[in-house]
Every structure is written in structure tokens, then in C-alpha cells.
Subunit: 407 residues, 2 copies
């Protein structure tokens, strides 16, 4: 099976499926009852790459993770807590994040610079360090699937479901696995906050090449989802590559590069879509495909503008084929459009062709909009580039969740 496809999805795969990885999740006590501290540990110092929030207020754990990766471009462990974002916590917060790194390094017998730190939760409150210290001393990662599941749980906040994925492909005749876990039900939820993504792979690949690939993949996946158009202080995606699959080093000129890239992108896209679908209060996943744009950037920007529109989101929630809102959002984007050449369809139902309204059956459209996943296709008909973005509808529950979370 693997040989005939670019890559295959492993329904039972997990972040410990790639060779060399262990994981765990525990209840330290930062949150009342749920798991709140997790770690991924690699047998060897792994090649690594990371992307961070563009928010100008970057949280303390981001400072620490950047410091670690800057040292040698390698990571061997990542420690993550939920329940407290350690953001806007000043000097003390930074000291706390560095202490998390030190303690985790000691617990696993590693050099400090091989440890990344991530946090998610309430902003502006100090980490309960006694609790965190006790939690770190309990961390004992294994290759057991149950422990991987413990990690998935430990990183959640307002999420309703765990988010995981796993792909395999053949590279140089070796089986290479890419897996990932994520949390997030919105771009920013300063109460119970943030999007975090963790990818593991046993591919043999240099950190620099991995960083390039991560940036490209992130632009097409994690950066193309939006729940409420906002960006947390703590967003982070980290990937670790153990190299234990023993393929020849991967780079864009490698004959099997496309297979690796596809597995990497598929894993990231799965996690990104899972986050969008689990958006706070969401009842539907919305996918917007923009074709015929003058550049890929423009296509992605236009798709994201549409999927981020409060009025498109409420119309989808209301199962209302209100294409005027799609046009409104598109015209408000900075991507160039020709107001006379736009096609729009909801799934297969054409509602606008060459900017002229098309007759369509409201009942058929309503039936389509009752699905779990709504696909909006837009063709600008002015170029050859395409882009996709994912989001969710805007429901009463989004307001409910966010109106009263902190108090």
C-alpha cells in the first residue's frame, strides 16, 4: 500500500509512532481536574524547526524556546503546560519559563538547550511554580499509545476533542513517519488560549531544511485557519525529526522530497482543519477555495478574508445561501479582483458567474448548508493561482463561551 501512494494516513498512528519518540501527560494541579502538563522526549538530539506567533506581545515560553533552538538547532524534548499562558507576566514570568526548561532538562538528563517550552491558558497570572515543579518531577514519557493520548489531553484548554494525525511514506526504501498533535479552538483565547502544534518525524533531515519546509507548510495550513481573526501571544508550532528512519538526508533536490513534503503538509493540514472545526462554538467546518488569482499569496489572502468574515460565518451558521456576504468579504480583501469576472459556488451549486447572479434552488442550497463541512469555491478568473483557508461558523455558543469565561 505504502509503495503505490505518495503517503498514507495511519488511523492508529500517534506522535510516538515515528522512531525514537516517547510522550506523557499528567495532572500537575494547574487546572482543577484535567491533565495539564505534558512532554515529548526523543531518544536522540533531533533536528528541529519552529514558527511562532506574530503577536507583538510574545509570551515567556516563546523566548525560552527561541533561546534553546538558537543554541545548536537541536531539540530533544518539549514540555507543555495548559491552564496558564505565562504571558504578560514580566521578568518573573520569564524566570519561571526558564526554570521549567531547567527542571525538565534535569528530569530527562538532558542539556538545557535541548528543551523547548510551551504554555497555554490564562494571560497575566503568574505560573503556580510549586505545582509546576511537582508536575515536572512526575514526567516519565514512554512509547505507549496511552501516554501519547495523555499528552494530547494535557495540552487542551477549551478544545472539545484531541487533535492528532499520522502519515507514512517510503523514502530511499525506508519507512518514514510524520505525526502530530495540536490544541486550539481559536487564534486567541487569552483565558484558555492559543494554538499549539507539535510534529514528530523519524525522517533524516537537517534543521535548516526542516525550517524552510515548516515555513512553507505553515503558510498553507496553520496560517490559513481562523476562528475569530485573532492571534495569541503564545502560538507555536514545533517539529522534531529524530533521523532514525535512516533515509538519506532530505532536501528539495532529493528524489523522494515530494513524498516527505506531502506527508508533512498532510499532517499539518489535518491538525489545522481539526482546530478550525473545533473552533469555539463551531457547528461546521468551512473551507474556502479561491482559484484564478494573480498570485498564491493573493489567493490565500482572499480565501482567509472570506472564511474570517463574521457575516459569512453567521450565514453559514444560519444555513443561509447569502452569497452577497461572500462578495462583500472578497471585495474587502486586499487581493486584486475584477468586479466583473467572479464565479462563486457553494459546493457544486453555482450562485454567481462572471459576477452575474445565477438562479439556484434555495431548498437545494439549504440542504447543502446543512452538512458538517461547507465548501465555498470562488474563481476570480484573472490568473492561475489557487489558495485555501479553513474556518468555522459563528454561533450563539461562541458569544456564550467568550462573554463570561474568565469570571
Amino acid at each position: 500500500m505504502i509503495e503505490t501512494s505518495v503517503c498514507v494516513k495511519l488511523a492508529n498512528g500517534s506522535i510516538v509512532t515515528p522512531k525514537g519518540f516517547k510522550a506523557t501527560g499528567v495532572h500537575a494541579g494547574i487546572r482543577k481536574a484535567r491533565k495539564d502538563l505534558g512532554a515529548i522526549l526523543c531518544e536522540v538530539p533531533a533536528s528541529c524547526a519552529a514558527v511562532y506567533t506574530r503577536n507583538q506581545f510574545q509570551a515567556a515560553p516563546i523566548v525560552v524556546t527561541k533561546d534553546s533552538i538558537a543554541a545548536h538547532g537541536k531539540l530533544q524534548a518539549v514540555v507543555v503546560n495548559s491552564g496558564n499562558a505565562n504571558a504578560c507576566t514580566g521578568e518573573q514570568g520569564e524566570q519561571d519559563a526558564f526554570e521549567m526548561r531547567t527542571l525538565t532538562a534535569q528530569q530527562f538528563g538532558l542539556e538545557e538547550h535541548l528543551v523547548a517550552v510551551a504554555s497555554t491558558g490564562v494571560i497575566g497570572e503568574m505560573l503556580p511554580m510549586e505545582t509546576v515543579r511537582g508536575g515536572i518531577s512526575q514526567l516519565s514519557p514512554t512509547e505507549d499509545e496511552q501516554d501519547a493520548f495523555g499528552f494530547y489531553e494535557a495540552i487542551l484548554t477549551t478544545d472539545l476533542v484531541v487533535k492528532k494525525t499520522c502519515y507514512q511514506t517510503m523514502i530511499d526504501g525506508k519507512c518514514v513517519t510524520v505525526a502530530g498533535a495540536a490544541k486550539g479552538s481559536g487564534m486567541i483565547h487569552p483565558n484558555m488560549a492559543t494554538m499549539l502544534g507539535f510534529l514528530t518525524t523519524d525522517a533524516n533531515i537537517d534543521s535548516e531544511v526542516l525550517q524552510q519546509a515548516l515555513r512553507t507548510v505553515t503558510d498553507r495550513t496553520f496560517n490559513q485557519i481562523t476562528v475569530d481573526g485573532e492571534t495569541s501571544t503564545n502560538d507555536m508550532v514545533v517539529v522534531m525529526a529524530s533521523g532514525l528512519a535512516e533515509n538519506e538526508p532530505l532536501h528539495p533536490g532529493h528524489p523522494d522530497w515530494d513524498k516527505f513534503f506531502q506527508a508533512f503538509k498532510s499532517a499539518s493540514e489535518d491538525l489545522a482543519k481539526a482546530i478550525a472545526k473545533d473552533g469555539e462554538g463551531a457547528t461546521k467546518l468551512i473551507e474556502v477555495n479561491v482559484h484564478g488569482a494573480t498570485s498564491e499569496d493573493d489567493a490565500r489572502m482572499a480565501a482567509k478574508k472570506i472564511v474570517g468574515s463574521s457575516l459569512v460565518k453567521t450565514a453559514v451558521y444560519g444555513e443561509d445561501a447569502n452569497w452577497g456576504r461572500i462578495i462583500g468579504a472578497l471585495g474587502h480583501s486586499e487581493a486584486p479582483v475584477n468586479p466583473r469576472t467572479v464565479d462563486i459556488s457553494l459546493g457544486d451549486i453555482a450562485v454567481l458567474k462572471q459576477s452575474e447572479p445565477q438562479p439556484f434552488s434555495e431548498e437545494e442550497a439549504k440542504r447543502y448548508l446543512q452538512q458538517d463541512t461547507i465548501v465555498i469555491n470562488v474563481n476570480l478568473n484573472i490568473g492561475d493561482f489557487s489558495g485555501t483557508a479553513w474556518g468555522c461558523d459563528l454561533s450563539y455558543d461562541y458569544v456564550k463561551i467568550n462573554a463570561s469565561y474568565r469570571t
Copy 2:
């Protein structure tokens, strides 16, 4: 009273208070029962200025109004319908908008190029021209306050209240009046859509000077409100100046320029705030003041980012002093900030100083957030410029109104 102040607000003033203006509003039948067609008529060809939506899909009436103003830089009448936006209606829609202009010019005995056209309502449906023709033939503007009120009503869509304002000031010893009417409860509502603003004044002022002033005022008022971060295809603000106050021509070097500018800005700000406060589903007006920025543009941009944040809006709705959301939105804006020097207060309650969380009474904050108008003050402490933006909270009713409006 007038002599001692820069300008005074006339509680009973209306768009027909400035010398030379008449108005009317009728029920043509575009909407079921409410007034849906209105006009303002000036005794003389008036100096004029207009600003339009930046949406790339500009509706047909905008094409027509631009054509009118381009001819001689004068307007003598504006005709407005609600219930149908005449947007995304192709060639036929443009013909219909031009016909509205022709018929209105005939009705009032004017040259065509002296008539502006505006529309607001559902997108993508053709104007019912038989109904519009019948309506225009009923238009008979007067100086009566009742008819001015008819105009205010005829331009509304999802608005809950009419929006009007009037200021007077003394220029060259003459009494000059600036008045205005507006509609809009969101930046875009392609069902029942759009922000429209109409200002009348009897000031003697050239169209070019008026256009400059309108652009400056719009940047500080109408462009600084947001309900849902979107921009309609039909947004338009038009100002007509009859010159009948007989002051010396106004320009920025005129000794009384500041008084005129203040009256003009105050009238625009009143209308802008009234629109924000009447935002779909809104229960509160939110004002965000950003101080200490490195430029006025940056201050305004940061203020607008905060007031437009769904998470800030839901927190205000929930009366939750969740300042982490304010920081999150601020850091996500493109205005430069120093993450270590930010002050934030809710009204007079300081919650952040030099980026360090401040202890405050949750009860006191809750009491403050129960008011009708919430003021968020942010000081970036990196420059000398300030900017303000206005918006509203995000409630269950916003979702309700927008989930099911069209069907």
C-alpha cells in the same frame, strides 16, 4: 451662547435647519410597510464632497454619484432608497441607478448631474423599478421637521433608531449650521446593508476645500467605527454646502476655520458613534482611546484593532474585565508597540501599568462594565500621538440577526 463657544449642539436641529435645505421620505413599496425612499433638496446648486466604500465591488449608485460630482463639483439633490442595495446587479443595475438620477432630476426640475444617488439593502437583486418610479414621483421635499424625520426613517434598514445631529457656530459674524443624518448598524450587512451619511450645511465653502475637510473628518470619525470589521459595497458619505449663511469663503487659513471644522467633525462624530451604538445586537458603545503612539495613523489603527476584536467585544458584552484580550488585540495590530511600556485602564480603573498587571477590584470593574458606554484607555508610552475608535459589544443577538436574515 453661540459666541462664547466654538460650536453648540442644537437638540432640535435637523438636516433642514441649515439655510436652503428641504427633505422628504415616503413609502414607495420597495419594503413592505416602512418608508423606503427619501430625498434632500437644496435651493441652489451646493458645493459638495463625498467619500465612498473602499470595497472593490462598488455598487451602481456609487458609480452614478461619482459621475454627478465629476461633472461640475456641485449637487442640488440626493435621492436614497432602502430595501435594495442595487449592488452586484451588473449592467442592468447601473442603468437602473442612472434612471433613478434622471427621474429625480425631472421631478425637481434639475440638471441630471446635480443629483446624487444612494441605495442600501439586499445585494444581488434587481431594483423593482416600477415601484421606484412611482416613489420618485411622490417626492416633494419641504422645510418641515416632520419631512426631515421622514428622510431619517426612509434610509434605515436594520437600524433601531434614527441618527441625526446638528451644530451651529459663528463665522464672520454669520450663524453657520452643520447638520447630518446617517444609517447603518454595521459596516456591511449585504441583506439590509451599509453605512450612509448625509451632511447639510449653509456654510460658504468651495467643493475642493470641503472635500479635503470631509476626508480628514471621515478618517477620524466614520472610518473609526466598526461593528463587524467589514466594509459594504454601498458605503457613502455626502455633504452639501448651500453657501446661504453668506460667510466669507471658508478655507484652512480663514480665522474661523477651526470653528467650522469643529462643527463638521462634531456632527460626523455624533453620527459615527450613533451608528456604532446601534450596531446589530449591540448593548453597549465601546470607545477606545490610544495615546502615546508614534503617529496619529498608528494610534487610530491600534484603537480600531482593539475595538474590532471579537474577544474584546464578547468580554465587554459579558462585563468581564479581561484585559488580556485588549493586549492580545493590540499586539496583533500593525501599530508599533513596546511590549514593556503599555498602560491600560477601563474608565479610571488601571489594570496594566508599564506592562505589569495591576491589582484592581473585580467588583468595581464589573460595576464599570455594566454602564452603557465603556471607555478603554491605552497608553503606549512611545510617542505623542492619540487616536480614538468606536464600536459595540458582540452579543447573542448579532448572531441571531445575521444567521437568518435573508431567508
